[in-house]
């Protein structure tokens, strides 16, 4: 049987996480190929509904990766993103879906290594959780 | 005479009165009331019976008042606006007079959120100032609010509360003036610890001439422990306990705190007697009724005058 490879949707900030993803790809900081990167101009623009819909559509995990606090290009977008992720987690919990499938994190500008680490850790955690129960 | 109560007669005669307080039990046992009454008898001039104090369910004030009358004491029935609308209030007032109750205290009442039924719906149909006006109209004009004539004689000596330490401080004497205008006969204040602030308040009251229009009884409560003092200062609205008072309790040392608390109280009672405009003391012993005789003796307020 083929090993379970969690499908992760990563909403990545254009100013930090996206650059980190590019660099990580060129260097040897590998991150799992099953990650789908979605570029957003700022994580503040990611809505709760985007997070829910990704899981509803069958993603195993959703991560929002923005800038370090205090370094958002739009000042507070990452703070907003973190709060929305928390709210979405509680909405998921009401439905009985593990909060661990949602995550907010940040990388510094050239943070290719951390970017890869976030996704690798999340992949491992999702492997432990198993596939999105909505897919079974 | 407004009601001819003991309290009214003594105050009118210019006696420095002392009233006590009794919280009815959280159940129907009349003996609890009788036992507490026995401790207060002949040691105070009248006894306030609280009305579901702190919004916690207790024996009704009116029933406990009747028990006190039967025991030979004079009660002051407290009535809060939280639990009754004007219809129930007036009905209870008729009942109170019928049972021989001659003093009452008009209060807004602690909000139910502080009690044991925070989920209850409150009433607050009328406020404490309107309540004073209502009782005065009933007594002096023999009419209920709707102006229907009252059948028979309704009498009552009307009291109300005042918190000199609540905010905004400058407004407090003006609120008292409003109670006077509404027709209050006597006032009992919130517990006083900060004597300087109370003196400043009384100066304003005297300057406004309010002490000539109603009798002002200064409220006091003994500090039983340092924990109680700190709790009250932190949690009871409008209670300010000066640091030097808490220090005195602390310096008294273990085992002597309660005695020191009583000593402080007696000193306060003596000081209050000399403040212009203060017509008496309202001693709220709060579950320390058994120590009231000792306090009254030590403070030099015994024996009590007779009518």
């Amino acid at each position: 049987m083929k090993e379970f490879e969690p499908r992760i949707i990563a909403f990545c900030c254009h100013y930090c996480a996206l650059a980190a993803a590019d660099v990580a790809g060129k260097m040897e900081f590998q991150f799992p190929p099953s990650v789908r990167v979605i570029r957003v101009l700022c994580t503040g623009k990611v809505e709760i509904l985007h997070l829910l819909k990704a899981l509803e559509a069958g993603a195993d995990g959703v991560v929002v990766i923005g800038c370090k606090f205090g370094e958002c290009y739009f000042r507070e977008g990452n703070y907003r993103a973190q709060k929305k992720v928390e709210r979405a987690k509680s909405l998921l919990e009401e439905v009985g879906i593990e909060q661990g499938r949602l995550r907010f994190d940040f990388v510094p500008g050239p943070g290719a290594k951390k970017f890869a680490a976030i996704l690798s850790t999340m992949t491992e955690e999702l492997k432990a959780l198993g596939p999105n129960p909505l897919r079974s | 005479m407004k009601s001819g109560s003991n309290l009214e007669r003594l105050l009118e005669r210019g006696e420095f009165v002392v009233t006590g307080e009794l919280g009815p039990p959280k159940g129907p046992d009349a003996n609890v009331v009788k036992e507490k009454a026995a401790m207060l008898k002949d040691h105070v001039d009248a006894v306030n019976i609280t009305d579901n104090q702190s919004a916690t369910v207790r024996m009704s004030s009116i029933a406990a008042c009747k028990i006190l009358i039967d025991e030979g004491l004079e009660p002051t029935m407290q009535m809060v606006a939280r639990d009754r609308n004007r219809i129930a209030m007036m009905a209870d007032l008729f009942g109170a007079t019928a049972l021989g109750i001659k003093n009452m205290l008009c209060l807004s009442g602690d909000h139910q959120i502080f009690g044991n039924h925070p989920e209850a719906k409150n009433v607050f149909d009328i406020d404490s100032i309107q309540m004073i006006h209502m009782v005065k109209t009933m007594r002096d004009e023999h009419k209920v609010i709707c102006e229907d004539e009252i059948e028979g004689e309704f009498t009552m000596y009307i009291g109300a509360a005042c918190n000199p330490f609540a905010d905004p401080a400058w407004y407090r004497p003006h609120r008292l003036a409003k109670k006077v205008e509404a027709g209050v006969d006597f006032i009992q204040t919130q517990c006083i610890y900060d004597m300087n602030r109370f003196r400043a308040f009384m100066k304003q009251v005297v300057d406004m001439g309010l002490h000539e229009k109603c009798k002002i009884l200064a409220g006091v409560t003994p500090l039983k422990s340092i924990g109680m003092a700190r709790y009250m200062a932190a949690n009871v609205s409008g209670i300010i306990i000066p640091d030097d008072m808490i220090n005195r309790l602390r310096d008294a040392g273990k085992g002597n705190v309660a005695a020191e608390g009583i000593k402080i109280l007696c000193e306060q009672m003596q000081e209050l007697k000399d403040i212009e405009g203060v017509a008496g003391i309202h001693l709220m012993a709060i579950e320390w009724e058994h120590r009231v005789p000792e306090i009254m003796k030590m403070a030099g307020f015994l024996p009590r005058p007779t009518v």
């Binding site: 809505e47 | 807004s108 959120i113 009328i126």
Partner: protein, 230 residues
């Protein structure tokens, strides 16, 4: 405006147990502004319901719609909307209590062949103002006899926990209410405002017993404008 907040999901879920065609109907007015029952919240509830159903192997169908105003026939008189309602086993209204009742009455009047069940997804909390992003405070109780001209534009009936009409109780401390230290004492605000307005004399007058008949105490109320009727 009317402020509401969504009920817990489990409560909503228990209302639709056994239904296979569910219509979520949002309201585009007050509850959209207070982010409780507009288009976004309709979609979120829809997503939650679909996820919950799929987890339980339930094949119920969830449809999402928004009416601009559920408290007015004019915005419900929409043929495609009525068809969707007719087709549904249950309508979850995300309007305030007014909208839920009005939509229910309306649909049952215009649809003959079945009785439509309309259930609420929100708790209607109060009439209030938007104080900050994501924050609303109660401002009016609808007592039917406004006194704001005497109290410097601050309502003691609504904003004093005891609805006192003659000044602050003994629990006013540092400008805050004893019932909740995060809540301003209404009377403290009134006194400050009257002082600024030079209307402190208002405080000296005894405000007499309030006539509560115009309030809900007089029974359900209605307003009729004869000049608007034919």
């Amino acid at each position: 405006m009317i402020v509401g907040e969504r009920k817990p999901f489990s409560e909503i879920l228990s209302m639709v147990e056994g239904d296979s065609k569910i219509l979520i109907l949002g309201c585009g007015s007050c509850v959209t502004v207070c982010m409780a029952g507009g288009e976004e919240e309709v979609k979120i509830l829809g997503s939650q319901l679909r996820m919950a159903f799929r987890r339980n192997g339930n094949n119920a169908e969830v449809t999402e719609l928004v009416a601009l105003r559920q408290c007015d026939d004019e915005y419900l008189e929409d043929t495609p909307l009525i068809e969707k309602v007719k087709d549904a086993d249950i309508v979850i209204s995300m309007a305030c209590g007014v909208g839920v009742q009005h939509a229910s009455t309306f649909f049952n009047r215009v649809i003959d062949d079945k009785t439509i069940r309309v259930v609420p997804a929100l708790n209607t909390t109060f009439m209030g103002a938007n104080i900050d992003v994501g924050e609303w405070h109660e401002r009016c109780l609808g007592c039917g006899d406004c006194v704001l001209e005497k109290t410097g534009g601050i309502c003691p009936i609504t904003r004093c926990a005891k609805s006192l009409l003659n000044g602050p109780c003994g629990g006013s401390f540092n400008g805050k209410c004893e019932v909740n230290k995060d809540t301003d004492c209404a009377w403290h605000l009134i006194i400050e405002r009257l002082e600024a307005l030079g209307e402190l004399d208002n405080l000296k007058k005894i405000e007499m017993y309030k006539d509560w008949r115009p309030s809900h105490s007089g029974g359900p109320r209605k307003t009729v404008r004869e000049d608007m009727k034919i």
